[in-house]
């Protein structure tokens, strides 16, 4: 097993195992309800892949991924509500509190194509603009973390403050169909799970390519020595913005798939607390690795569900405790335990070669 872990096929094998688990084992063993829960965790894991890239590799501690998750989710939810209401119809929650009809900016999302394009473009675009605006001004470290967190808070407040357009603090829920398929049908719910699993695997592949590419090396260089990168002739703002935009995009897609799988999206799912919750899974799993964020996010979300079933109010304490333990004793996350076994010791530099005597 150890030699397998060490081999150059390790990533490919790991990926295959994950695919088999997600596409064959899980659907065979789990009930529709449990499979739906797993689908929800996979949506969190998508956000986690992005956080791993932005925070783990790029050093951008983003406490506001809920914003991009939320934009993707609300876009999808708006489309589903409009589709449920039928052509020209008014979604049920809107009709209850207002007689003004559908707001103008909702109208484009009657179209499924427009919605999908918006889900792919808007979170990415917002992340890119935000990244350029902050990284150009060399906002980083704790300041960037605070800024992103404030953004998550503002986003949640904005949603709560506009009940007619966004459902307020209740959010949007009670979706009946998904692009023409009934959400009551277990077969369709399973298909949604497969879509989520496929999307997650694709994102892991994208993250893997970005990590091993020259861009990935440069991103780590930016994290560890931004000034130095600048003196080599690169603009670190551009590099970090790309990583942040990819992370935003992944969060947006995760949010969009979350809506039909879970059946509700509310400010409680996108504000400060869930944004930090997403980060905790990444920290516990190991933020600089490929699999760490994914497994950490899934494990934390699973633990949250199971523990909340037993002790409804205990979860917050457990979550806080896990976070503190990892930060204090295992800053590299659980993934660093595996790594430590794999690399017994860094090779000591005993041979000290000197510059050549003759010109090369």
């Amino acid at each position: 097993m150890t030699s397998l872990l060490r081999s150059r096929y390790a990533v490919g094998i790991g990926f295959l195992v994950a695919a088999v688990l997600l596409f064959a084992v899980a659907p065979a063993l789990l009930t529709t309800f449990r499979l739906g829960l797993l689908g929800k965790y996979l949506c969190y894991a998508m956000v986690a892949v992005g956080i791993g890239l932005a925070w783990g590799r790029g050093g951008m501690l983003t406490l506001g991924q809920g914003v991009f998750f939320g934009i993707g989710a609300y876009l999808m939810a708006m489309h589903l509500k409009l589709a449920d209401a039928g052509a020209g119809g008014v979604p049920d929650f809107m009709a209850l509190i207002s007689s003004d009809g559908v707001p103008g900016w909702w109208e484009p999302f009657r179209s499924g194509v427009v919605t999908i394009i918006a889900i792919l473009v808007l979170p990415t675009l917002l992340a890119a603009l935000l990244g350029l605006a902050t990284f150009r001004r060399r906002v980083r470290g704790a300041y960037f973390a605070i800024l992103s967190q404030a953004l998550a808070a503002a986003f949640a407040i904005l949603l709560i403050g506009n009940p007619v357009a966004t459902g307020g603090s209740t959010g949007l829920n009670n979706f009946k169909g998904f692009f023409g398929f009934s959400l009551r049908d277990p077969a369709n719910r399973q298909m949604l799970y497969f879509i989520a699993a496929g999307a997650l695997l694709i994102m892991v592949l994208v993250a893997r390519q970005l990590m091993v590419s020259r861009f990935g090396e440069l991103l780590v260089a930016c994290r560890d020595g931004e000034e130095r990168v600048r003196f080599l002739g690169y603009d670190p703002a551009t590099i970090k913005t790309v990583a942040f935009a990819v992370a935003g995009s992944m969060a947006g897609i995760g949010g969009a798939l979350f809506v039909p799988i879970v059946g509700i999206i509310s400010p409680n799912d996108v504000g400060v607390v869930p944004s930090i919750g997403l980060l905790i899974g990444v920290a516990i799993g190991g933020r600089t690795t490929l699999a760490g964020p994914v497994l950490g996010a899934i494990a934390v979300a699973w633990a949250e569900t199971s523990l909340s079933e037993q002790f409804p109010s205990g979860w917050t304490y457990v979550q806080g405790l896990m976070f503190m333990l990892v930060v204090a004793f295992l800053p590299g996350g659980l993934a660093s335990l595996v790594k430590r076994r794999r690399k017994p010791k860094a090779a000591p530099v005993d041979a000290v070669p000197t510059p050549e005597k003759a010109p090369a």
């Binding site: 020259r214 260089a221 003196f231 002739g233 860094a346 530099v349 000197t354 090369a360």
Partner: protein, 258 residues
């Protein structure tokens, strides 16, 4: 032939009224190995900070015919100006090879960046040989010895294709042998480049400098070969003046028999 030279005209840097560099005129030609020396606070590091775009300055700082002042740091770097810092700043988690590969790549296309590095670029190979780190290509830069980190930094400037190299105390903390190696390395690379070295190590300066500029209180005090500078009464005054340096330090700068 000599288009790649550094020409400073009236370069002035002030921080809230404190003038750190005060109207410095300086030209360094290609092939020169110029040492900038001077007592603490003379403005040596501030001068190269200004040329590399880290602090804003007035006057002119031309390299290869282009004024560098007011340009962004990464733009200046792309014009062929490279520098190191007093503390070696390499990317500790990346290998020697990765460090050099990144340094070589500022002009690569975006498409190249999305792909994995295949093979070792020729410039990187050459640079590793020049600075003697070929055997350590896959070693993380963080566990290199102090001197090796400095050599890696110089190697990064080479692959970056810097025509003007500004090194800030490259031999600080090195052993005597490492200093000699570094000195010979600098002599080799200065042949077709312009090299400026800020240094406090006067033995090192006397062994390897081709020319010397002495800064004092932000101004150029003296300029010439090592012997000329040592013989300059103004330099003796600064180094022997009360409260600046001990007799031993002055003896090292000015040579024996002062």
């Amino acid at each position: 032939m000599n288009t790649d030279y550094l020409e400073l005209t009236g370069l002035t840097v002030s921080f809230d009224g404190f003038v750190a560099v005060d109207g410095v005129d300086l030209s360094v030609l290609k092939g020169d190995l110029r040492f900038l020396i001077g007592p603490n606070g003379a403005g040596k590091t501030t001068l190269i900070d200004a040329v590399s775009g880290l602090v804003s300055a007035t006057g002119r700082a031309e390299f290869a015919g282009r004024d560098l002042l007011g340009l962004k740091v990464h733009k200046i770097a792309r014009l062929g100006v490279g520098r190191t810092f007093q503390t070696a700043t390499v990317f500790e988690e990346l290998s020697v090879l990765q460090n050099l590969d990144i340094a070589a790549g500022a002009s690569r296309s975006p498409w190249t960046f999305l792909r994995k590095r295949s093979g070792v670029p020729e410039v990187v190979e050459e640079a590793m040989e020049t600075v003697g780190l070929t055997a350590l290509a896959d070693t993380p830069a963080g566990i290199l010895a102090h001197g090796q980190k400095q050599w890696l930094e110089i190697g990064m400037l080479l692959v970056q294709d810097a025509k003007l190299l500004m090194l800030d105390e490259p031999v600080a903390g090195m052993s005597a042998e490492e200093k000699d190696e570094t000195g010979r390395l600098l002599q080799r690379i200065c042949v077709d480049r312009t090299v400026v070295v800020v240094e406090h190590d006067m033995d090192f300066m006397r062994s390897f400098a081709k020319s010397v500029t002495v800064l004092h209180a932000g101004k150029v005090l003296s300029e010439g070969t090592v012997a000329e500078v040592q013989a300059d009464p103004k330099v003796q005054e600064v180094y022997l003046g009360p409260g600046h340096h001990t007799a031993e330090e002055a003896a090292i700068v000015l040579g024996e028999g002062v």
